[in-house]
Assembly symmetry: C2
Homo-oligomer: 209 residues x 2
DNA sequence: ACAGTAATACCTCAATTGAGGGATTTGAAC
DNA sequence: GTTCAAATCCCTCAATTGAGGTATTACTGT
């Protein structure tokens, strides 16, 4: 049975070309094509597509919103972003919204067709440069001494970030309670914070520990 | 010029097959092959490979350690994991260690060759099921009310997690200082913690906020 | 009408923390 | 040989917090 495809793309010529190309092959069936995401929820529910091709830059609701609408309406529909944007900001917003693939518009048609098959088979097609960005995001950029913390200060901060009190930290490190407080007093200005709670928030959200 | 490849794989038959296959094509050159990662640092420095094929399950230092050794010795060398393991644990350890690709051993040889070209061109080849896992990891599994927090309690926790004091939170929400303290006292048992610092640690590390 | 929950607000007391000091020892750098 | 940073320890005082309460209002579901 043909793969049911729905297209969200505001460029009419491109949208028509894609539709024409995909319809010319028995393997694919374009069941709907739209210049924006306003009706994304209802058409997804009505047409039950296997795959949605989604542009990002569209008038009204953009494609990032669109991913969420399609995914919420019908999680089984695989969403492939199809866009010119290559920046981390939009990329990760789409991924968090539930996109199953991310292709740049420079992708040649045969690769696009292959990606549609791949996403239906449970894959996650991505343009090479996108895949590289995604993998790079896992390498925690060790903020190596961005705040010039000493070895001991880092240890204290790590334990603090587990929610431990000064007394418990002292026990863990086998040093005195007052020493821990001294370290904390030295840590705060280095992190540009004023109290332990801010320090924890900063340490955890900036992956210092 | 041929792509310089180094192979870490403890299965001798597989290692020899790969070497033989790759050497049969002028495009590729296997400059070294090893049954473990003990010498990974020194051979990477000595042989200056473009690509390292890395198994995970090897005697001695395993492949996860191996990725780190190769990447630390020579960041330009692209490392492709080549393994049977499909579990999130090992996968994300490899990605954090700096792997540039992740192929399952069931990958057919022609896809493996394509992956080597792709990684040299700055891509990040992944088996489809791996790519899907990676993308899924971005969908923050909304821990929807795992701890049964009320709307207001969630708001208080969100502000607390920015490091705000009770007094500041009261100001932000336009409620009294004592009310904030009441909410906090109700939040702690729900999160199974005993103080604000533990609450922040839990909220941030479990993505509650 | 009544029970339950969420949200609001106040009180007290002991413990912890932040802020401000000062002080010693050790090992590396110049 | 002196200087410097890191690590250790102690003191005080005011502010914040945790823990234990109590109490009112408003809305929801029965």
């Amino acid at each position: 049975m043909a793969i049911r495809i729905i297209i969200f793309e505001d460029n009419e010529r491109l949208r028509n070309s894609l539709t024409y190309l995909l319809r010319s092959m028995p393997e694919y069936d374009v069941v709907g094509d739209y210049p924006n995401c306003r009706e994304a929820t209802s058409v997804t529910l009505a047409l039950q597509p296997d795959v949605a091709l989604m542009d990002i830059d569209m008038p009204g609701e953009n494609g990032i919103k669109g991913v969420g609408m399609v995914k919420e309406a019908r999680p089984e529909t695989a969403v492939i972003m199809y866009t010119v944007f290559e920046d981390d900001e939009k990329l990760f917003q789409c991924l968090c919204a539930g996109a199953n693939g991310y292709l740049l518009k420079k992708t040649p048609p045969d690769k696009l067709f292959e990606a549609i098959r791949e996403v239906v088979d449970g894959g996650a097609p991505m343009s090479p440069s996108i895949a590289r960005r995604v993998l790079n995001s896992f390498q925690q950029s060790k903020t190596e001494n961005k705040y010039q913390l000493s070895t001991r200060e880092l240890e204290v901060l790590q334990l603090l970030s587990k929610g431990f009190s000064a007394k418990v930290i002292a026990g863990e490190l086998n040093i005195s309670f007052e020493t821990v407080r001294s370290h904390l007093k030295n840590i705060y200005p280095k992190l540009h914070v004023n109290c332990g709670k801010e320090a924890i928030a900063k340490a955890l959200s900036e992956r210092i520990v």
